[in-house]
């Protein structure tokens, strides 16, 4: 069955081809998600995050190891992270009544003002597997009984070898970035990032003008497999827009009908774009050649996501690190992560109403340019490991 060709249009039949994706309004459960940046969690510090409805407290013990436990005290349900307290190594104490949890296994080790209480060592909070990599803290979030989590690498973009752009698993990798809580469903963010048709949003952006960059108005897919399905056994699953292959995509630089032309004269190495489960964008050679920009769209609930914007480079010496830090603060961040990406955010927020309140997932009119968005939906539908559900008792 020719899935891709028939996937353009507007019908329930089309949505059926990626039905699990349509259901994933709270995100796909049982995946690794970034919780925060490494430098946000000091030794004996506590950071609270919400991923797919799970409130999680991330802490760092005196050996520098990070731990993730449920960010809800058993006693009366306040968030542990609301007022971080770590009195003893590898513990988190609730600031309200002193319930003190073991950071490694969640056990209630003591209660500060009631050390003989019978509850001690009989109850505990849930823990989440966590790992730190390349300046980010990742947490495996999902069903309590899921079993051994798959490796973190299965939920990271693959390490490309043909262009060898910076990757989290590289030695000498340096990353910097920001995260912000945004209004809008995580899928709208992921699709916007991948979408070859949305370049018009960036037509007048500062970074494009400043670099005199020849940014196309659109990318026309020339072949059915212009978007590659990547399915690595036990590894990353995603789709990749092969903008780098001229036989796959034809950039559109002008449309005389509306008298518009792409600005800029500098032709760069194409910024190849790929999207990975559970919701990660990898843009190679962006904002400039030799740099990789990663974006994580981490579901918080069905109407909010945490937007991680990460710039990755390699640096072998302190001087190179300093240079990267300087460029990050004065170029990548203000022009790329803020100015340029703010236009993407504006677009996602504008689509939220249609998709969430008017059932846009079953009610949209896609065109040829949405080819890779549909490919992503299928890949996500096929490889999502489960669904997050609303934890709220009075709404959904």
């Amino acid at each position: 069955m020719a899935l891709i060709e028939s996937a353009i249009g507007n019908s329930g039949k089309v949505a059926r081809q990626y039905a699990p994706y349509v259901q994933a309004d709270w995100g796909f459960a049982n995946h690794w998600y970034p919780a925060c940046f490494s430098d946000e969690v000091a030794v004996n510090g506590v950071i609270g995050v919400t991923i797919g409805g799970h409130d999680i407290a991330v802490t760092r013990d005196e050996d520098g190891v990070v731990h993730a436990i449920a960010d809800r005290c058993l006693h009366r349900g306040v968030k542990l992270s609301a007022k971080p307290m770590c009195f003893a190594n590898k513990t988190v104490t609730c600031w309200y009544h002193g319930y003190t949890y073991n950071a490694e296994n969640g056990n209630l080790d003591t209660i500060v003002g009631s050390p003989d209480d019978h509850l001690i060592n009989t109850v505990g909070v849930r823990t989440y597997p966590s790992e730190e990599l390349a300046g980010l803290i990742f947490v495996f979030v999902g069903d309590d009984d899921y079993g051994t989590p798959p490796p973190l690498d299965s939920d990271l973009p693959m390490k490309v070898t043909d262009k060898a752009t910076p990757h989290f698993r590289d030695e000498k990798i340096v990353t910097r970035g920001i995260r912000r809580k945004l209004y809008g469903n995580w899928r709208l963010a992921a699709e916007n990032g991948l979408d070859p048709g949305h370049l018009l949003v960036h037509w007048d952006n500062q970074i494009v003008v400043a670099l005199d960059r020849a940014m196309p108005l659109g990318m026309k897919a020339l072949k059915d497999d212009a978007t590659e399905f990547v399915d690595i056994e036990g590894g990353p699953k995603g789709v990749m827009n092969r903008y780098d292959l001229p036989e796959n995509y034809q950039p559109v630089f002008e449309n005389p009908m509306v008298d518009i032309k792409a600005r800029g004269t500098t032709m760069y190495e194409p910024f190849r774009v790929s999207c990975w489960l559970p919701g990660i964008l990898m843009v190679e050679n962006w904002p400039i050649p030799g740099i990789t920009q990663y974006e994580f769209y981490v579901p918080i609930d069905d109407h909010h996501h945490m937007y991680f914007e990460v710039i990755a480079d390699r640096a072998s010496t302190p001087e190179e690190e300093k240079e990267f830090a300087f460029k990050y603060e004065n170029f990548y961040k203000p022009l790329g992560l803020l100015n340029f990406n703010n236009n993407d955010i504006f677009a996602r927020e504008a689509t939220e109403e249609h998709y969430e309140r008017f059932d846009g997932w079953n009610n949209e009119v896609l065109s040829n340019m949405d080819f890779s968005v549909v490919a992503w939906r299928k890949q996500a539908a096929k490889h999502g490991r489960g669904f997050f559900q609303s934890p709220f008792v009075d709404e959904d």
């Binding site: 039949k13 059926r16 990626y18 699990p20 259901q23 019978h118 109850v123 299928k378 490991r385 959904d396």
Partner: protein, 352 residues
């Protein structure tokens, strides 16, 4: 202070105690408890779920009233029960150990223990699609205020508007979609629900619904699974496939689906989509009369069941007309499946 209610008696120290719990709806659950075991733990061990929360004696949710026998709570810690309440026989079952055969009253109905107690509600028709000459796919929106949940395989009763007639249909949508239920309904030449759906049903209209009902439920496990569906018997299978998709590791799944003739065949695209999403799913579609569709074999779903489709640990779910169920049970049994691994829901045609 040790609290022992009941008459003086010689308490055996080793024998297990027979416990009876009586619910407000008159249902009684009986099980044995070991001497040192709390009644909540003993009930759980016996497979009875009871209302409880903290399990450590502080929330008071699992309170029951001793009506016969003797039950002791630890004396060395503070209880949420007052001396008066204890004297009146109240006990926290998560803390109580029985000293002899005992019975307790609980202040809630046994149905509360079911994973998804049935509820009644009005649901709006959000979609009504003819997917074949004789099959309608009905989508209903459950109001968000309704606490509705179900296990794949269960069904709902739907009232035909303007009548006292109710009809039962398996839920075809997945457990995850709690607020949007779909049903696959066979339209008969005449019949109250068929007439209503054919002639009167409109999007936006509201229907009385009751559910979820039924014990034909999927037990998600990574076991090879054979699903056999006749006609709209496909409905619970679709719901089950939705759930099986997230079972780790995903088991091999075989779906055998049969319809009468090409004009009555439906959801070919749906099944093709499922195959593309589920690498371990195999579907064999058959038609009783395949004239015009010679790409599909002629026969019943069972005619395409092969001996090597069934492994020793296979579990099977059947849904369709009674003759198909009977034949399938026979055939699967002959292939070595024990009766408890052959689970069936059969269509019972209505009188009108």
């Amino acid at each position: 202070m040790t609290i022992v209610e009941g008459t003086e008696m010689t308490v055996p120290q080793t024998a297990s105690r027979h416990i009876a719990l009586r619910f407000t709806d008159g249902q009684v659950r009986e099980f044995d408890a070991d001497p040192g075991e709390t009644l909540l733990a003993a009930a759980r061990r016996a497979g009875h779920r009871l209302v409880s929360q903290c399990t450590v004696g502080t929330c008071g949710t699992c309170v029951g009233t001793l009506v016969d026998g003797a039950g002791e709570m630890p004396s060395d810690r503070i209880s949420t029960l007052s001396a008066d309440e204890l004297a009146a026989g109240q006990r926290l079952l998560c803390q109580t150990r029985a000293l002899c055969d005992s019975s307790f009253d609980l202040d809630y109905p046994a149905t509360l223990l079911e994973a998804h107690p049935p509820v009644g509600f009005r649901a709006r028709i959000t979609r009504l699609t003819w997917v074949a000459d004789t099959v309608v796919e009905l989508e209903l929106k459950v109001p968000k205020a309704i606490k509705f949940g179900f296990t794949a395989g269960q069904y709902c009763r739907i009232q035909v508007p303007g009548t006292d007639e109710w009809r039962s249909y398996s839920i075809a949508s997945g457990e995850h979609e709690r607020f949007r239920l779909t049903f696959l309904i066979r339209i008969l030449p005449s019949g109250v629900m068929s007439d209503f759906l054919r002639d009167a049903a409109r999007t936006g209209q509201s229907l009385e619904v009751e559910g979820p009902l039924g014990g034909f439920v999927l037990e998600p496990a990574p076991r090879p699974t054979v699903l056999i569906a006749g006609g709209t018997g496909l409905a619970p299978m679709l719901s089950m496939l939705d759930r099986l998709r997230t079972v780790q590791p995903t088991p091999p799944i075989l779906l055998l689906f049969g319809c009468n003739r090409p004009a009555e065949l439906f959801h070919e695209d749906e099944l093709a989509a499922r195959i593309s999403l589920m690498p371990t799913l195999e579907v064999r579609t058959v038609l009783m009369d395949n004239a015009g569709r010679d790409d599909l074999p002629a026969g019943t779903p069972l005619s395409v069941l092969r001996a090597d489709d069934v492994a020793p640990d296979t579990v099977s779910y059947l849904c369709g007309p009674p003759p198909m169920i009977r034949a399938a049970e026979e055939q699967l049994g002959a292939l070595g499946l024990p009766a408890h691994d052959i689970r069936a829901e059969q269509f019972v045609p209505s009188e009108n």
